[in-house]
């Protein structure tokens, strides 16, 4: 499988603080990738490195096989919607499209116009007077109509109400279905992305904590609860991600590729939400702060 984004030891430092550190990732083609982490985890930094708005301090990144800031040909292959879906407040919807057509050689004006139509946006309206949802849709239209091979979206639904959020994701997924574009979208809330992403990257504390295919991640993690048990007595093929104990009972979130056979456990599947939180708290834990375990499932 070809990679749309490949990073190797990628890092970006501001002064003494690493905004992103030692990030090694492979993001396969044709996926919708959820980039999840709390504010300040390094999501925006990673996306800015991928579009060439930032240059790495260390390591390397290739996007669609090329260097992000290599050439205008490279930029034409990448669509980017920055945080808060910025548009030009003083320009009308129609002028945004004219600008898109002027700036992008591969502009698909038929697609742009039909999307504006479908969204019932008035082409004469100034972007400054659009609702948050409409503005996000306009920004998405500009990014989609240049017909990129990969779309990078930084927290695209963060400021939207639930209905606008749903409509935005419907439109985005429709474009994925029709044009087969690869997508990376970030959010600090996994619930925003749960329905749409088939690949997940969890960033926390400037580092990648978990990366993999959503279905593989879900089928290789279990929540076990049962009588009190010391972690050191757990089988070696079960990696403990999270544990909690009372005097009588133990609960573990484990990762394993094998079936759980011990009849003492009540075994429950995990949700994506559980999984993300467990890896984040593992990374925050005192024993793991220096060297978080990196989870990769392919």
């Amino acid at each position: 499988m070809t990679a749309v984004i490949e990073t190797n030891g990628l890092g970006k430092r501001y002064g003494r603080k690493w905004a992103l550190h030692d990030c090694t990732l492979t993001i396969p083609e044709g996926k919708v990738v959820g980039l999840v982490g709390p504010n300040g985890a390094g999501k925006t930094t990673l996306l800015h490195l991928a579009v060439g708005l930032l240059a790495p301090t260390s390591g390397s990144i290739t996007v669609l096989g090329g260097r992000p800031d290599d050439s205008s040909a490279q930029l034409a292959r990448v669509g980017f919607v920055a945080q808060d879906t910025p548009t030009y407040a003083g320009l009308s919807v129609a002028k945004h499209l004219r600008m898109g057509a002027y700036l992008n050689a591969s502009w698909d004006s038929e697609l742009a116009n039909s999307r504006i139509d479908q969204l019932s946006l008035d082409p004469r309206q100034k972007a400054g007077s659009l609702s948050g949802g409409q503005r996000a849709q306009l920004a998405l239209t500009l990014a989609i109509a240049k017909r990129p091979e990969i779309l990078l979206l930084d927290e695209p639904v963060a400021g939207l109400d639930p209905l606008a959020r749903r409509e935005f994701l419907q439109n985005l997924m429709e474009d994925v279905a029709v044009h087969g574009v690869s997508v990376v979208l970030s959010s600090h809330l996994i619930v925003d992305l749960e329905r749409v992403c088939d690949h997940l990257v969890v960033l926390f504390g400037s580092q990648v904590q978990l990366s993999g295919e959503v279905s593989a991640l879900l089928s290789s993690h279990y929540r076990l609860s049962g009588p009190r048990r010391e972690p050191s007595t757990m089988p070696s093929n079960q990696e403990i991600i999270e544990e909690s104990h009372t005097d009588r009972q133990s609960t573990f979130l484990v990762r394993t590729d094998d079936a759980i056979l011990d009849p003492a456990w009540t075994v429950k599947p995990v949700t994506l939400d559980d999984l993300v939180l467990a890896y984040m708290s593992q990374a925050r834990g005192p024993g793991h702060l220096q060297r978080p375990a990196l989870g990769v499932v392919s």
Partner: protein, 130 residues
């Protein structure tokens, strides 16, 4: 044409929910051979899910011999779920009822029985996967 619904609280994988809804529609006679399934584009435009999820569900249905893609047209129902299913269902219901009667006679309560059932289901599906 059928319309898919999604129950996000069910914990059942999305693609599996789609597969199950086609199964149910076939069992209820809502879908018949020759009927077209919604295209991936139509499904995602409504449910805001990943198109790969829809394709995965359709591939599963293909593997089961229930659906087949026609290039450039879409995915169509080609199979039926045999009516004999109902007889099998009744047979297993009778078996299960007898089993439950025995379990209760042995002093097991509903929670015990549910725990046994869940463990058995898990074990048998783990075997199936391995």
């Amino acid at each position: 044409m059928i319309e898919f619904q999604l129950d996000t609280a069910s914990g059942v994988a999305t693609y599996l929910q789609l597969v199950q809804q086609v199964h149910q529609a076939l069992q209820l006679g809502i879908l018949e051979p020759g009927d077209q399934l919604p295209t991936a584009q139509q499904v995602v435009a409504k449910l805001a899910i990943n198109p790969n999820t829809v394709l995965k569900a359709y591939r599963d249905l293909e593997r089961e011999g229930l659906a087949r893609p026609r290039p450039g047209q879409g995915t169509f129902i080609v199979g039926t779920l045999a009516r004999s299913d109902r007889a099998a269902q009744e047979r297993f219901l009778a078996l299960m009822t007898a089993w439950l009667r025995e379990a209760r006679a042995a002093g097991l309560g509903p929670d015990d029985i549910e725990a046994i059932y869940r463990t058995a289901v898990r074990n048998s599906f783990a075997e199936g996967v391995a």
